[in-house]
């Protein structure tokens, strides 16, 4: 029987979906060890506490909330010091974080601060005797490794969206604590956070991604891709490296070997031929649709469903069809 730890990522005072996934993983390992408690830690500006009740739904037994006016934005040093202190005090078997932008920054510091091993960007978690067995994509998604992580606490960051959060309701106790380091004493300071207007839904979290390539011919034609994404209602917009290199879309939208690695339920590739570098970023999607005028394009070999033809005719028709389905509910 062992307790586990989950880090609750929040942005703008709201809990992010990846936090529920971390709690789900922590719940699973606590249960597999014979039924320990799941303790969560949330850090942010005052007001965060009000959000914490919902963590019980996914199996958290206790949440420690650290609120401070100086923590409206992420502070690497304060977050790391506070998480290290909480994990040390708890004597946990394992600690789960999200492999989000924040988590990829925070988690390695926490593991190094604790002097323990860490596995990152994990897609499946199992407890086996004295080790955690963890699936992790390697070689830019071209192979899947099963990793063996020994020692306690085992620190793990989870690929967003890879393991769905599942409900396992508990009565959650909410406690408060102070940061382990005064935010005013931090050396590294996040001075601004600009929300980019283009990215309404994040590529890592969206169940549907509509992605565009050079076949769109010009930046303004991305409107077609955006309209289709809007029609789905739960879609994010991605792009190939050729497109972001040309400045048609911000580099943060790039899906591929050197950009984001995504695995949505549905991936719609519009005017994308399917360069190896792009395929590496999306090949683990559940269902892939390709629309391209070249019937020999490599994307069609990977796609579950392809339509050959002029995207400028096909995409608007698809957008209308999806709108109609959603209107019908």
């Amino acid at each position: 029987m062992a307790d586990t730890f989950a880090f609750v990522e929040a942005r703008g005072g709201a809990i992010r979906k990846v936090a529920f996934e971390a709690i789900t993983a922590a719940r699973r390992v606590a249960d597999a060890s014979g039924g320990g408690e799941v303790h969560a830690l949330a850090i942010g500006a005052p007001g965060l506490r009000a959000e914490m009740e919902q963590l019980g739904r996914f199996g958290a037994d206790r949440v420690t909330v650290v609120e401070h006016a100086g923590l409206e934005r992420y502070s690497p040093e304060v977050f790391a010091a506070t998480a290290v202190a909480a994990i040390k005090a708890g004597g946990y078997r394992a600690a789960f974080f999200a492999a989000s932008a924040l988590g990829r920054d925070l988690t390695p510091r926490v593991a190094a601060g604790l002097g323990v091993g860490m596995a990152s960007d994990v897609t499946a978690v199992d407890l086996s005797g004295d080790a955690l067995l963890l699936k992790h994509p390697v070689y830019t998604g071209k192979a899947i490794a099963t990793l063996r992580l020994v020692g306690s606490p085992a620190v793990v960051s989870l690929r967003p969206g890879a393991m769905a959060a599942s409900e396992a309701p508990r009565a959650v106790r909410i406690e408060t604590a102070v940061p382990a380091l005064d935010p005013g004493a931090a050396h590294v300071v996040v001075t601004a956070t600009e929300v980019s207007a283009a990215a309404k839904l994040d590529l890592g979290e969206a169940p549907v991604i509509v992605s565009g390539g050079r076949g769109l011919r010009a930046a303004e034609n991305f409107k077609l891709v955006e309209d289709l994404a809007d029609a789905f209602g739960n879609a994010a917009v991605g792009a190939t490296r050729a497109v972001t290199d040309d400045g048609w879309r911000p580099s943060a939208d790039q899906i591929g070997q050197t950009g984001r690695l995504v695995s949505p339920t549905l991936y719609v590739a519009v005017g994308i031929s399917g360069a190896v570098q792009h395929l590496a970023g999306m090949r683990t999607s559940k269902v892939i649709v390709a629309i391209n005028r070249d019937k020999d394009a490599p994307i069609f070999k990977l796609a579950d469903y392809g339509i050959v033809g002029d995207l400028f005719e096909i995409v608007p028709r698809l957008t209308d069809a999806i709108r109609k389905i959603r209107a019908e509910g």
Binding site: A112, V116, D304
Partner: protein
Amino acid sequence: MKIAVCLKRVPDTDMRFAVAADGKSLDLSGLKFDMSDFDGYAVEVALRLNEQQGPGEVTVVGLGPDAVQETLRKALSMGADRGVHLAAAEVPFDGLAIAQALAAELAGQGYDLILFGRVATDTGNGMVGPMTAELLQLPCVTAISHLDIKDGRGTAHRELEGARETVSFPLPAVLTIDEGIARPRLPSLKGIMAAKKKPVESRPAALGPIRLTVDKLELPPERAGGRIVGEGPDAVPELVRLLREEAKVI
């Protein structure tokens, strides 16, 4: 500025992969190796900083078998000044073990900046940079897409999901570099000739204990793709039907 860049030699991921007979490592036959993509950007950032801000020294550090010296030479041919090879029979998967060896090498050497690529394209771990920073007790900013250094302080941008952070930090610091910040230059013939005369020291890597290992390596299941629903906009109703009734994703 005195800048260190930590490099990794990785298999070229454009190649076709096969799993070796042991079921847990890569079949190395026919693979080409090169500097990990993001490490190239880190070298370029270091070179540009010193070109713009006056003289300095760029040291490239690589850990692994002797072949790592080829990767260090490539960075020297781009313009780095000297190489340090931390010799180890193989590069462990465990990021903290590597970070401990790097921290032992880099501590107390007076580096103003220590740069890493944001993630290695083989392990996909992305942890050695921030772990090294933590062990050295240095400020650290990860996955930066923009960098300004002025009067002993730096300003960097990092991309979040749907947002961008601006981060201010004092030097010395550890930074991990995302692509897009500075496209790596190709070594010139002159650079390649000059690199042959630049010093590369080799000493054993002081790796930490290993807690993370690979149990099994598998190739992802082949996709049963390749189905063409039809041609032109008239194929859209059939596509939508398949997505609803067969794939059940809408």
